[in-house]
């Protein structure tokens, strides 16, 4: 089936079997291998991308469902030599060890900060209304869909909070 995806600002038309997940379309059809496959079942967050402005698990959706949609992957945020602030903060704070979960962590954190800027509460927010201070607890809750087998969590949380302007290093 023909599907057109706008990925990192560029339009791509591909011909895929309807079974193809958005994740496999990115990795196998477009060679955008920055997005990782961990569990393939929505449980680990390694495949997180931004779809029409929202972070989602690309393993749990079909490419053919996204004709005309806008997608940002880790490659679209920045690449070696021109990293964006979140990517740089992950490097500076040791926000990874093996690095496998890292693209998903960074995409998820990017989408998450946008949710915070819109005032979305979380499960741990004391109030459903008003500004959300991005405490360590808030980051942990909002990022609970991204697992890190190397357990680089302390660095991940520091990198995210610094990028959000909550702590300075």
């Amino acid at each position: 089936m023909q599907t057109t995806l706008k990925i990192n600002g560029e339009s791509w038309t591909l011909d895929v079997d309807p079974r193809t997940s958005l994740l496999d379309a990115l990795r196998h059809h477009l060679d955008l291998t920055g997005t990782k496959k961990g569990c393939d079942h929505g449980q680990c967050g390694a495949c997180t991308i931004i779809l029409n402005g929202r972070r989602i698990n690309s393993c749990l959706t079909l490419a053919v469902m996204h004709d005309g949609d806008e997608i940002t992957t880790i490659e679209g945020l920045g690449e070696p030599g021109r990293l964006n602030p979140m990517q740089e903060a992950f490097v500076r704070h040791d926000g990874y060890q093996c690095g496998y979960c890292t693209p998903g962590q960074i995409m998820s954190a990017t989408g998450m900060l946008d949710e915070v800027s819109q005032g979305w509460p979380s499960h741990v927010s004391a109030s459903l209304e008003g500004d959300v201070p991005l405490s360590r607890e808030e980051v942990a809750e909002r990022m609970s869909g991204n697992l890190c087998r190397c357990s680089a969590y302390p660095g991940i949380v520091r990198a995210i909070r610094e990028t959000a302007g909550e702590v300075s290093e």
Partner: protein, 329 residues
């Protein structure tokens, strides 16, 4: 994953027609695709309803709220009107899944998500829900997450949704559309108990699609709480959850609406529990009496026996919170 034909519905009629002809609806896909990858579900045809005009949340003329079936769990949880007037619903949504999943999961899909029973998920095992008549190994096997209320000897699976528990406490109705027109029903009528036919989970007719959930006007002067008890503090399904909407009249409980997750095959509600509380002064003895009523037919299956005392303790803690009653020393 088995091959399937894919079609995108351009309007509701095309969607109901396709479903009537045997196609399976796909919305957020977060439950269906998971199950299709495991071949627990293997539809031959998918009808994608995500481009239908069911994405709005708006007040009804009567002051209630009409939530389109495609409103995402994120948008609903963050909706300012819901946060202010139906906070138990925001809280339940925020207690479920993850940020990424909630951005995709839809209101209709969340209601119709399938059980997380391990035997249902494992195609090497018999399961009366997946393969009618094949048997149920959960009853004698691992059943830590299974039902203590409403189960049958054919199936002891629970309904996993958090959102649906809050909606049940809020007296929500679903609006469905099929070839025969539109109808509305409460969640008690949407879901069916397993009995001898656990594979029939809802009362939706073949061509029927959920188009909206309708909440009655916000409860007046009520305290709303959702409490979820789970194995991890985030990103885990409920072992027991309670949605409570309770209003006081001076020192007495005027109205109590209570729904429970993790206990049964559908978000559970028991009018007798509520009637035992209404008109009474809150006390620990009263809360015990309400718990006795809730759990009068509760049956543990072995590994889930702990849910019986856990349900009692969770209900009592929630009732103390909403009535501002101190725990006895």
């Amino acid at each position: 994953m088995r091959p399937f034909d894919y079609m995108r519905a351009e309007d509701l009629q095309a969607a109901t027609e396709a479903k009537g002809n045997g196609a399976t609806v796909i919305a957020g896909g977060t439950n269906l695709l998971d199950l299709m990858k495991l071949e627990v579900m293997a539809p031959e045809r998918l009808v994608d309803i995500t481009r239908l005009d069911l994405h709005n949340t708006e007040r009804t003329s009567g002051g209630g709220l009409r939530i389109g079936a495609l409103v995402t769990n994120s948008d609903l949880a963050a909706n300012p009107d819901v946060r202010r007037n139906w906070p138990v619903l925001s809280r339940a949504l925020l207690a479920g899944a993850t940020g990424q999943l909630r951005n995709k999961a839809t209101t209709g899909g969340n209601l119709l998500q399938r059980t997380r029973c391990y035997y249902f998920y494992d195609t090497a095992m018999p399961c009366n829900k997946r393969e009618p008549g094949s048997g149920c190994h959960a009853r004698t096997g691992f059943n830590r997450i299974h039902a203590i209320l409403g189960a049958s000897d054919k199936c002891i699976a629970t309904h996993p949704s958090d959102m649906a528990v809050a909606m049940r406490a809020l007296d929500a109705e679903v609006e469905v559309q099929g070839s025969g027109g539109t109808r509305r029903m409460g969640l008690d009528a949407l879901y069916r108990l397993p009995g001898d036919t656990p594979h029939i989970e809802t009362s939706l007719a073949e061509g029927e699609i959920i188009t909206a959930v309708i909440l009655p006007p916000p409860p007046t002067a009520a305290t709303q709480v959702y409490r979820k008890v789970r194995d991890r503090s985030s990103y885990a399904f409920a072992l027991v959850s309670v949605a409570a909407v309770v209003a006081m009249d001076g020192a007495r409980i005027r109205e109590a609406r209570l729904a429970f997750g993790g206990l049964g095959p559908m978000p559970w509600r028991d009018g007798e529990v509520e009637r035992a509380l209404e008109g009474q002064e809150p006390s620990d003895a009263l809360f015990d009496c309400a718990s006795d009523i809730l759990l009068r037919d509760a049956q543990g299956q072995g590994s889930n026996d702990f849910k019986i005392p856990l349900a009692r303790r969770t209900l009592k803690a929630v009732l103390r919170e909403v009535t501002r009653t101190e725990a006895p020393a």
